[in-house]
Chain length 752, copies 2
Amino acid sequence: MTGYFNDLKKEYVITEMRPRRPLLNYLWNETFLAELSHFGFGESFYRVSPLKRRRLILTGDAGRMVYIKDRQTGEFYDANRNYKNYDFKKHECHVGIGYHNVISEYKGVEVDFGITIPQEYSAELWQIKVRNTADCAKKISVITSGRVAANVTGHWAYGHANFDQNLGGLYFSHDAYDVEDLYEGIFFKADTKHSSYDVGTVNFKGLYNEWAEPQGLKSEQLSCLGMSFEENYCAALQFDLDLEPNEEKVINIALGVVRSREEAKEITDKCLVKGFYEDTIKGIKAEADRMDSVYTLKTPDEYLNTTTNTWLKRQISLGKTWGRVYGKGFRDVMQDVAGMASFDIEMARKKIKVCLDHMRINGNPIRQFEPINNEPYHDGASWVPATILVYLNESGDLSILDEKCKYIDSDVQDSVFDHMYRGLRFLLDNRGKHNLVLWGGGDWNDSINNVGYKLIGESVWLSIATVKAITEFCKILEIMGGKEEMIASITKEKEILKAAIIEHALEDDRFIYGFNDWGEKVGSEDNKEGKHYLNPQTWAVLADMLDYDSLQKLMNGVEQKLKCDFGYVQCAPAYSKKDLHIGRMAYFIPGGYENGSVYNHGVTFKIVADCMLKNADRAYETVKMIRCDNPKNADSGVEPYAVSNMYFGPQEANRPGYAPCSWITGTAGWLYRGITEYIMGVRSEFNGLRIDPCLPSEWQEVEVSRIHRGATYNITIKKTGVKSVVMDGKTLDGNLLPITEKGSVHTVEVTY
Amino acid sequence: MTGYFNDLKKEYVITEMRPRRPLLNYLWNETFLAELSHFGFGESFYRVSPLKRRRLILTGDAGRMVYIKDRQTGEFYDANRNYKNYDFKKHECHVGIGYHNVISEYKGVEVDFGITIPQEYSAELWQIKVRNTADCAKKISVITSGRVAANVTGHWAYGHANFDQNLGGLYFSHDAYDVEDLYEGIFFKADTKHSSYDVGTVNFKGLYNEWAEPQGLKSEQLSCLGMSFEENYCAALQFDLDLEPNEEKVINIALGVVRSREEAKEITDKCLVKGFYEDTIKGIKAEADRMDSVYTLKTPDEYLNTTTNTWLKRQISLGKTWGRVYGKGFRDVMQDVAGMASFDIEMARKKIKVCLDHMRINGNPIRQFEPINNEPYHDGASWVPATILVYLNESGDLSILDEKCKYIDSDVQDSVFDHMYRGLRFLLDNRGKHNLVLWGGGDWNDSINNVGYKLIGESVWLSIATVKAITEFCKILEIMGGKEEMIASITKEKEILKAAIIEHALEDDRFIYGFNDWGEKVGSEDNKEGKHYLNPQTWAVLADMLDYDSLQKLMNGVEQKLKCDFGYVQCAPAYSKKDLHIGRMAYFIPGGYENGSVYNHGVTFKIVADCMLKNADRAYETVKMIRCDNPKNADSGVEPYAVSNMYFGPQEANRPGYAPCSWITGTAGWLYRGITEYIMGVRSEFNGLRIDPCLPSEWQEVEVSRIHRGATYNITIKKTGVKSVVMDGKTLDGNLLPITEKGSVHTVEVTY
């Protein structure tokens, strides 16, 4: 491992200075996002508007630097990055919930460089604590530098920067002609008196120097020159500090984006008040603690406990606010909402409505909003009933069904329920010659994107997803009551679709993925490549497509054909030749993304499917295979506290098993649900909390604390071979814990 | 100075390793362009299509590296960049015509790293000569690295690279879905056997190393691993060489962009043949020599001689092929053509026609093509007659006037003459309430761009330019003959326009710049800022707007109000506050671009105007003021062999006098014409070569060799106080050298 968890502080401490790839943390609020490596490097973005989600504010490489200079010898080094690989006594990164600290110690100076993001402002806060750990007094300079991305338009002639006397800090202005983005200014201000400053990289770093050896540090003080027409500005301040042995001094800095110098003054006046930094972190942690308390589990697997109780929720929360950062996919948001509804029901309600506003009047939602991606993907509607069902189960609040939503291409407004039904009608009414659902521009596997434009190709996976969606829709109708007729009629349609899928798409140990516009099978044994796909099999289980033994056969096929040392590949064999009858996927490197990687989002579907078939050990083994501590893939590069979008598949030529993309993935939500609702088996239903565990054979006993509709259930599950559920001393009929009074606390003992 | 000229080789040798800013050279053919610093760094671009002019092929920073490693000690250094600032015995950059060599010597190894661009392929060639200058044998490795920009789409999953056995070189593939750019491959191949290679920056440089200390060099050999899904590929080859004392070995490398591996093989088979590199340079130099021979001058000013005879033509040639690199402005191309017609008449003819194809049917050309910029600038048509007149004078070929050209927004086709006239009609028929030409989206000063959208604002400068254009048009009509009626009628229109300009726009010592959409004056003493503009005064002279004394008064105003230590500012005082009644210019930093910089293009108009008023010393002083050897601005940063777009004006807050943008500017063409046609006074007319010198008082005698219509005129001009022109021993009446036989050579003695 690259470090260790400190559960008391809810921190991960990175102790390895040069891991396989930089380990990332994210800090954010609604308008500002920072991606941070274990050096404290990484880009910061400002969300200008829903359509312009990312304006760079801070450059990634060498973006945040803290240099320490001995004023007596002139020697200096960079405390957070250690470019020169000096023999540091300590170099740690504390990845926190809402903060990030890089701590180092060298030659008797300890530097703790902390970063957080205030919830109210488009800004980030730095807190630099410098302590003298030697036994003699020290005269040092602390020099901080932020590579602010002040060239908003790229037209250098608009830009200038200098120390602003009235602000008391550095101000970078880019007041350009004909630009909608009014946030033309970036400020960088400290609460501590600086002795000198720089704003131009040309002056601070120097044209021919590297960040390890900035020219500015070779003089006693920085240049204190303004700069204009600069490609790369930097915000550098020098603080001269005298430190007695063991003395610590603290410098707070605020960096942010504003419309005017006046606004910069207002914000910094608030952000740089003593205690503001600490209060910001306290606020974020309190909210995280609240979310954690909704579902806390205790199993023999410490890693599972830590990541499920805290870190998966943190990762889901990033998606909750920023979607996939580059944009908000309809299907992504719908799934994320299902993952987070238990701990943020208000946000869930809001997001469902925003999402449905992006449905077309024909019932087919657009692919992505903020910004709009209008490609004619066909799967959007299939995700709606599941998420609404989760919302109803979690909240007990049927009123959402009557809420009005818009359509993106019409003035019509109707209810959430109408949207859901219109979506199902789109799926049911757009069928091909095998009576399966038309593939259109694509489905979940959005890299099979050239198979259905002619509206001939049919997606088997999407047809299965439609079956599943109708089942969920019927559950909602049941909850609503008095909908027997509709249930009967749509169930009939479902059965017809189901029969067509089985008739045309079942092939020995698999469902194929579909028929393309040219009438060719995709994902069939008949294909030369891409013979076997994961999702149609796992979703056949999720949609209850066949009898138990037949489903088990499908899942055995998955074990035989798709398993590798670190998970299950999305398809096999990967495409090695570009193929316009498939699309983008067949242009990807073999083993990359959908083209045969261990695409973890898909693997989490498989975990749920395993549990539904009561393949408990398979489910848990799968969870462990895609973890960073899988001994067969211990050097994947992934953060121990985040899940990755994918591991390169075994067919990848150069780095199989490597995990390049973490944090920004729907995997988090599904893995969380897979563990909490299916392995632990504690999931909310409309009338109570279902207890349906599927524990691996090596576990004898687990504990869950779950808050549902305001009541707390402290549940112990033991394997005794005897089925019983005892709540507050009373044995229940069945395994559904009833809804109880808000604020009440219950003890539940489950044996099986 | 940062180095010295070697006129024999037509080279500039840069001897300063750390000049104020990197000194640039350009190499190019029709489809490939490399911008090179004195380290050999700089981006290379491929021209995918007229509309996609720039696809990055090689990244700038650390883009081309040549490392030398002692195989016995393992010590290594980078020979071209010298990141670690070792004590090199030599570090020079030879800026050549069509080549670029970085030569260094350190610890007994001399490395000569040469770069050129073959005229036939989208590629660049490297030639690395390594010589043992020590007196003992050496075992070294040469490791070259090119930071190829292989991620065409930015979607990493399409990319993979490795050594290609069949090609015998490195190949970077990015065969993406749905991309028009078929040039998906980049090759990097040597003519010398390599011992190892790398394609991934992660492997070669290392994730945590800098380019000064690549991880790959710490092992005996590079990794020889393929790479995929890499953000930054690099093409690295290691060659192990044994060198006896004074022995030299040569490695040739070709790097380029192709549609397939097969094409890479074909091209490298041709490019890496022995002698190809040398022949490429020979070809480029031969063409440069031919161009140089068209006009060679000899004055007491050595710097003027070298730059005018060779380097200005080189700079003009870049514009000739690549326009302003980012695109081709209608007015820019028209002016460049006038600059180059004397030495590339065929290209001039072609460019005039291409340019005119981009006129709108209403007579107003678009702002820019390749790619299209459709903003409604109004000045395009005013540049046409001057350029066509230059073409006629230079070629004597009237047939161009009948050539058919298109309009960009119509199916109508008509002649070059019709286009020219339609253009004048656009200017004459779109007038405002002072009867001046409407400003529209702007004119030459394209940063005064918010003054005329309402079609109320009128441009005085453009009105003056229209007067000048009509005069030139009439000269063309005279050449054509039989056009007396048209001359009379349009001259009448000209006089009316002229009278309106004088009536409404003349203000004591200046013409104002115009009236904006709000009826406010621009460039008047009444304004708070931007009171005095340079171009209306200089163009009043060019257009012969007033009598001599009145014009002299205008130019005296220029001397008094706009002069600074290093030239003449475009306007004064610069705008310090953003102003929507002006436009972009008033958002620029004061002293930047049109907002009060010494905008050299404008200064060259002034040089011509000075000559037209026979202010000979002013003209020459102005030439010297904007040169890199102006002692009052000796550290401007500009290359001694290129002219700059601007020097920051004296009002610029941080770096007045600094020259950030060289090479890419229309200054070159006008400065060339100012010196050759106006100071030397040797300019072509339709019936011969006019001799009208305007030599500064400090010169007594100059020589010019000029090829005109195929005949060579070797001209000596002496100041004797007696006016006479003697050609081949015969005294001529007047100062027009007659057209003579192609291939003939004449001696001309001019005194005055």
